[in-house]
């Protein structure tokens, strides 16, 4: 009894001291955080995290782009100290090895990790797969990279939002440039949604403008050798080659295009390429006219974009590629919308995403309510004749379309859209 009492007494004394210290510490934290204007710190430690599911490829042909898409998304969260609505913000990143894998991982993020929103889909086929899950599970989804028409066209849904302009908008911007180079085109496009959309829209433009398609090849994803395709192009003697290859496939093609002596002989053009695609080609082999969603040296970049570029360069010691910006901007739109909604309820986030907007000169960059397509300008750029900086490969020729009316016309109206938007 004495021992128990004695032990109990000592134990009780220690426990009481710990309790008092703990309580004092907690009170001090609360006081300090509220004085420092960070009232959420004390609460956040105890609060349930807000979880966002990120699905970007960790393996496969698109991984060079998706690494930066993911990096941009994580950077956006980091810039907020991984806090949202006074709660810890947790980004859970899963792989998308193929469309089925993307779908399974989207479902896992929703069922197991209880995420309140999804972002990802490095390829159009992945994004379409994730979009179907988002629709079924009623979870908001931002597709930051996919360009296939159907995503905000006939397969649109209330929960899917897309940052990248669709293929037809890019085509309207680039195709007139190609027509200026000649009317005989050869299309070399990937054998999946993105490439097939490019082939269809450029072929359509060519036909409407009195041109001829002298050859059209669809290429399997991950083709390691293009020499046989290049021999066919060489024999067809087109005025322009319109490409529709993505990521490392484009890099491989351009290396072999140069190796077979085609650089400078026949112009190559493609929409919506990434910086990393062209960086990997090397200064000797790089060539072409392209559209890009964003470029770090574009003089027309907004103040927010310039601040992002500076912060990114400070952290990563290199300029941000377009994909890092897309990952960042897509995540930013999502996080700001959750803040706007003051809720993690899917329906509230969807409504907030529909009203979210930022200013870019004369244009309100936002997701359109009738198809959830983000409306903004794109860039036409050309690979420099002489590349002296290992990051700065292109000259920006134009930010297009120029006026707000032209942008509206390029993106099309609700009446033009194939999207039949469902309800929440």
């Amino acid at each position: 009894m004495t021992q128990r009492n004695g032990n109990g007494g000592r134990g009780a004394g220690t426990s009481r001291r710990s309790l008092l210290l703990g309580a004092g510490g907690l009170a001090a934290t609360q006081l300090a955080s509220s004085k420092l204007g960070m009232p959420y710190i004390g609460n956040a430690a105890a609060a349930e995290p807000i979880r966002i599911g990120m699905i970007w490829a960790k393996t496969g042909a698109i991984v060079d782009q998706s690494t930066f898409l993911a990096q941009g998304g994580l950077f956006a969260a980091e810039q907020r100290n991984n806090q949202l609505l006074g709660r810890p913000l947790e980004i859970i990143w899963l792989d998308e090895p193929n469309p089925q894998g993307a779908q399974l991982n989207a479902q896992r993020l929703i069922d197991e990790h209880k995420v309140c929103a999804l972002i990802g889909g490095a390829q159009s086929s992945f994004a379409l797969a994730i979009s179907a899950v988002a629709k079924k599970a009623k979870i908001p989804y931002v597709a930051a990279n996919a360009a296939a028409l159907d995503l905000t066209g006939k397969l649109c849904n209330k929960y899917t939002f897309r940052l990248q302009p669709p293929v037809d908008v890019h085509t309207k911007v680039l195709a007139p440039y190609c027509m200026g180079l000649g009317k005989r085109w050869y299309t070399l496009t990937a054998a999946y949604a993105f490439g097939q959309d490019i082939k269809a829209s450029f072929t359509d433009f060519n036909a409407k403008n009195g041109g001829t398609i002298v050859g059209a090849d669809e290429v399997p994803v991950g083709t390691p050798d293009y020499s046989s395709f290049i021999l066919k192009i060489r024999a067809a003697k087109p005025d322009v080659v319109v490409g529709g290859l993505s990521a490392s496939d484009l890099t491989t093609f351009l290396k072999q295009w140069n190796e077979l002596g085609m650089k400078g002989k026949i112009p190559f053009a493609e929409i919506s390429i990434g910086n990393t695609d062209i960086w990997g080609v090397g200064p000797d082999a790089a060539t072409g006219i392209y559209t890009m969603v964003w470029y770090y040296k574009n003089p027309a970049n907004t103040e927010d974009d310039k601040a992002f570029t500076d912060a990114y360069m400070k952290k990563f010691n290199q300029p941000p590629p377009d994909k890092a910006w897309m990952g960042w901007f897509g995540m930013r739109s999502l996080l700001e919308s959750i803040e706007l909604a003051k809720s993690t309820e899917p329906a509230a986030i969807v409504k907030a995403l529909e009203t979210w907007h930022v200013k870019d000169g004369d244009l309100d960059v936002s997701y359109r309510d009738f198809d959830h397509q983000m409306k903004r300008r794109t860039i036409i750029c050309k690979v420099k004749d002489k590349i002296t900086d290992k990051w700065d490969y292109v000259d920006v020729l134009e930010n297009a379309p120029k006026t707000v009316a032209e942008i509206d016309a390029a993106f099309g109206s609700a009446a033009d859209s194939a999207c039949k938007m469902d309800s929440l």
Partner: protein, 289 residues
């Protein structure tokens, strides 16, 4: 059209030689060690990255060290990991080498980042030559010559040197070779190292043609497996014939049905296995029965 067919056939043959070089190391390792090396593509990728770094920092001649370094890495891997698998369940070999492949890709990504890294052929090999409808770049011609030399050298090594005879004997009956007082573990390390050296050589040669990216192993490993399967597991000559067949089939499919070009080699494999399940030159090996 005939011009195009000739042009594509020659181009397919050259591509086939590159495939042969990738596949031959895989075939040797399976034939001699009985290990299906899923990490073979990783040694190919390591070869490309090492060549890139050496060429960039010390000039192209230094890149020639790349296959030797890859071979040495392969020997270390054999001595530390692969050796534990001999005589055990074949599935363990698959799991270990698959894990090695993932690890190698992760390490490459950690060191070099996820983006592709530029790597060009040496300036002296830029340009191409034309013979009528046939166009061959100087670099691809060099790849062809190096591949042929490597194949002849390795064949002569196996055929005419005492070490080569030990390898051949060990691949048939390792126990008997051991009973004759030969240090078989060292021989097996050497074989694995040579297989990896050939993968590294293929990586070095393919680097300036393909995209140098951590995931480039996957682009190499599938054709390699298809070629080894078509040629017959462990068959040296089979791998050569199969590699050339795959190259020509791919080129011809691109000419006539480009969208099927990715599937062509698999269709070829299925057709050959239907007719000859052991592959073109596959033999009945008692140790694998």
């Amino acid at each position: 059209m005939l011009d195009m067919i000739i042009s594509q056939a020659v181009n397919g043959l050259i591509l086939g030689f590159l495939y042969v070089l990738i596949a031959i190391g895989l075939s040797i390792i399976f034939g001699m060690l009985g290990i299906v090396n899923f990490a073979h593509g990783s040694f190919f990728a390591i070869g490309a990255y090492l060549a890139l770094v050496l060429a960039r920092d010390f000039g192209w001649p230094a890149a020639l060290l790349s296959p030797l370094i890859v071979g040495a890495i392969g020997m270390v891997v054999e001595m530390t990991l692969i050796r534990q698998l001999y005589g055990k369940e074949p599935l363990l070999g698959l799991i270990l080498t698959f894990a090695l492949a993932l690890l190698a890709e992760a390490i490459l990504r950690l060191i070099f980042g996820g983006a592709p890294v530029p790597f060009s052929p040496p300036a002296i090999l830029s340009g191409f030559v034309e013979y009528g409808p046939i166009l061959i770049t100087k670099y691809r011609m060099t790849v062809l010559i190096v591949t042929v030399l490597a194949l002849i050298s390795f064949w002569a090594f196996l055929r005419f040197t005492p070490f080569g005879r030990i390898i051949r004997a060990g691949s048939r009956d390792a126990e008997m070779v051991g009973l004759l007082g030969i240090n078989l573990p060292i021989v097996l390390s050497g074989v694995f190292g040579i297989g990896c050296l050939l993968a590294g050589l293929a990586g070095m040669l393919a680097g300036p043609l393909w995209t140098v990216i951590p995931s480039m192993a996957s682009g190499a490993i599938m054709p390699a497996f298809v070629i080894v399967t078509i040629g017959g597991l462990g068959s040296y000559s089979g791998a050569i014939i199969a590699g050339l067949l795959v190259g020509i089939t791919t080129a011809m499919t691109i000419q006539f049905a480009p969208v099927w070009s990715g599937a062509a080699m698999y269709v070829l494999m299925a057709a050959i296995l239907l007719i000859r399940p052991r592959g073109l030159f596959g033999e009945r090996w008692e140790r694998f029965e």
